[in-house]
């Protein structure tokens, strides 16, 4: 590739091999000043690996990197930082044990007489975060804040470090719409200041809303770079997948009359301060979609159902018999499964292999004395790796080496392997590429046909529409409405969420 004169950061012929697995093959990419450049590709395509190479977190096997036309080679992220490249890596890469301001300033704390000037640091940290609409005690430990706040801290840190290039690897995965908007404002400001901004996401809407050019990777290979004005959604998806995506959206599901008998029935089931008493019957062969804004109590309801929090009012009956669920253990014993929202924190055992991660919950259910043989484990793991299209070199690879989206599929496989009767999925498609999105939607429908009862929480309304037999809309920690049949469409759901809001404001 010839030298791109306008490029701030340019990489040519990047090749990276892990063991025998080629993660990147001869990739060329260039980021220009004053552009937002989206980097797209399926889970495991090599996006994060490319970022890590560009910022010195991984070494490269072949290729060259130029910053402002000068060849550079970063041995550590520190060197890249020093030259004005700020990065938010995909993993939550902050320090939970340190204060918010330490996290913002570590490595570049203001000093007086050689000692860290905490007063000044506090003042500056406050000012920086208020630019993101965040007014928090910067002296408190980072671990005391929600994932969304932590994500904003990570972004603020990277922005402050980025004199020339800002790299954001799936920064919006745990942000709500308002926070995303704020982030976009900041990105636009930085772009106007002449920074090159690299943006990785699986939300195609955001790509089209924000970026100027897109580069697509597939299986570690460069598919191409296009100006956003020259390309549409379908073409982007095609570049990513190498084929057209068969969308399953739009079909309205069978009438409720077809669902099986009641599996779980909730009567005034609630927990003071978290979830208002819920009345709900969940049937076999039914998918209940749960919609609502962030903070509407969706996740709390799921946690209550799975026994992570214990209800303090009402009753739950399973198969017509009263049940007590005081812990996830009780829930698992009843044949429940739960795939939590924040899979980074709640479910991955990074050092264990893909196989071990998949059979873990199943083994726990069988108990100590009925250990699965290795062959059985291999078979189960193999089945799910295939069924969910988990991209891994082998079932024995430690899970932490998989790409972010593929780690999430592993957790989903874990709960599917327990053969649950009732499955709760909290944002199952978050961080997962469009191809796998469709795959997961298909899996949900298949499970429903197999007679499972499912509760699926999701912010992706067109997906909710495509698989739900009923939709429950939550607001202010309570069920606000239930939609049936023809009412299940995106417009109606949005309207329901919004109308309740209007009511609340009156």
């Amino acid at each position: 590739m010839t030298n791109d004169q306008r490029a701030v950061l340019q990489a040519t012929g990047i090749t990276k091999t892990f063991g025998s697995h080629a993660a990147l093959k001869n990739v060329d990419i260039a980021f220009q000043a004053g552009e937002v450049h989206a980097l797209l590709g399926e889970n495991g395509a090599g996006k994060s690996t490319l970022i890590k190479i560009l910022t010195g977190a991984y070494s490269l096997d072949q290729g060259t990197i130029r910053l402002d036309g000068e060849e550079v080679s970063f041995a550590t992220p520190l060197q890249a930082q020093a030259l004005g490249i700020g990065t938010v890596y995909q993993e939550v890469n902050l320090l939970p044990n340190m204060t918010v301001m330490d996290n913002l300033y570590i490595g570049r704390q203001p000093r007086r007489f050689g000692l860290v000037d905490r007063k000044r640091m506090e003042r500056e940290a406050r000012a920086v975060l208020s630019g993101y609409g965040l007014d928090i005690d910067v002296r408190a430990d980072l671990s005391t804040f929600s994932v969304a706040v932590q994500q904003i801290v990570a972004i603020a840190r990277a922005v402050a470090l980025s004199g020339k290039v800002l790299i954001l690897d799936e920064p919006t995965a745990s942000l709500d719409a308002a926070e995303v908007e704020k982030l976009f404002d900041i990105v636009r400001r930085l772009k106007a200041r002449g920074l090159a901004i690299v943006f990785i996401t699986h939300f195609l809407d955001q790509v089209f809303a924000l970026s100027d050019r897109v580069t697509v990777l597939r299986n570690g290979q460069l598919i191409g770079t296009r100006a956003i004005s020259d390309i549409n959604r379908t073409e982007v998806v095609k570049m990513m997948l190498g084929k057209d995506l068969a969308l399953h959206h739009g079909e309205i599901l069978a009438e409720e009359s077809e669902v099986g008998e009641t599996l779980v029935s909730l009567r005034d089931y609630g927990l003071k301060g978290r979830v208002e008493p819920i009345n709900l019957d969940i049937h076999r062969g039914e998918v209940i979609g749960v919609a609502g804004l962030l903070g509407s109590g969706r996740t709390e309801m799921a946690r209550l159902l799975f026994g992570i929090d214990t209800a303090d009012s009402g009753r739950i009956a399973v198969d017509g018999r009263d049940a007590t669920i005081r812990s996830p253990r009780d829930a698992v014993a009843l044949g429940f499964g739960f795939c939590p929202e924040d899979r980074k924190l709640d479910g991955i055992f990074g050092d264990l292999s893909v196989r071990e991660n998949i059979v873990m919950a199943m083994q726990a259910r069988l108990g100590w004395f009925r250990a699965l043989t290795r062959d059985e484990q291999m078979e189960i793991a193999g089945n799910y790796i295939e069924a969910l299209d988990i991209r891994t070199a082998s079932a024995e690879l430690p899970v932490k080496l998989l790409s972010g989206g593929n780690q999430q599929k592993v957790i989903l496989a874990r709960w599917l392997a327990t053969d649950p009767r009732f499955l709760i999925l909290d944002e199952p498609t978050r961080g997962i590429d469009v191809g796998a999105h469709a795959e997961i939607v298909r899996v949900i429908s298949r499970l429903r046909e197999d007679g499972l009862a499912l509760v699926v929480i999701s912010s992706e309304l067109d997906e909710v529409v495509s698989y739900s037999s009923r939709v429950v809309v939550m607001r202010d920690r309570a069920i606000a409405a239930e939609l049936h049949g023809a009412d299940i469409n995106v417009a109606r759901i949005v309207e329901t969420i919004a109308s309740h809001h209007a009511e609340a404001e009156q």
């Binding site: 977190a57 550590t76 992220p77 520190l78 930082q81 020093a82 990065t87 890596y89 993993e91 939550v92 890469n93 902050l94 320090l95 939970p96 044990n97 340190m98 330490d102 996290n103 570590i106 490595g107 704390q109 000093r111 050689g114 000692l115 860290v116 905490r118 002296r139 408190a140 430990d141 671990s143 005391t144 929600s146 840190r157 470090l161 962030l294 903070g295 509407s296 109590g297 969706r298 996740t299 709390e300 992570i308 939590p340 929202e341 924040d342 924190l345 709640d346």
Partner: protein, 326 residues
Amino acid sequence: MNARYRPLMATTLIFIVAYALCVSQYPGMWSTRVLGNFLTDNAFLGVAAVGATFVIISGGIDLSVGAVIGLTGVVTAILITRLGLHPLVVFPLVLALAALFGAVMGAVIHFLRVPPFIVTLAGMFLARGLASVLTQDSIPIDHEFYRTVSSLYIKLPGGGRLSAIGLTMLAVFAIFGLVAHKTRFGSYVYAIGGNPVSAALMGVPTGRTTVAIYALSSFLGGLSGIIYSLYTSAGYPLAAVGIELDSIAAVVIGGTLLTGGYGFIFGTLIGVMLQGLVQTFIVFDGTLSSWWTKIAIGFLLFMFILLQNLVFNRQNGPAHLRKGPA
């Protein structure tokens, strides 16, 4: 209040209560004389424990400190008595050697990715072995400088004496408290203890810091060895056996989390003082075997680990159980 201060407050409170109880039984313990001896007798432990605090905050462990104390003592004694060097020439030399020893351990830990437990265990055998090869016996140090320093003290009101080595320990605590809590290096130590992978991605120089942490621990081990030689006027290869464990106990009692990421230098001082207090009590009592010290420390240690579990599991433990909006 930030939950991280709770173990520290608890330790301080326990120390005050324990001291008050001791005094109520033996009013003689309430004197600057006892306090002065306290500091002198525990100076070498305190200095070593400061190093251990850094290591443990970074999520590591250093088992070689006791052996480094023994080795520095012997080398110091040999250089002074056999080669006739002046102590003021010898001290910087052995301190530099000790720091180098630690730096090598740190480098092995970081660059070869060997667990600190193994590396410092090997370091312990090496240093102790080397000391014993140099001499089997205690080498008395009879030097003008040693006599002077041993007799140096500041008079405290009430007849107590703050010896030079006691003062050194206090200075070490003050200086390294500042280093831990007020410098960038200090923040790197906490960062590595919190999450080494994140720390590296955030641009913390993890390699350099790890090397420096173990160099610091061994440097303070060396200083502790010099103090020990001043305290006993001798160098003995089997000096301070097991001190690494006492210092780890002091660190944990002082509120530092054994798994890294949280802790205070000042807490370690209290931890050391608490151990000293138990010893002094037993001396005053006169009928108890000195092994009761170990039992008391075992008990305290156990209590603190329980306490930390309570505090830290509430604070940042199983994150999925933490309360927060959807």
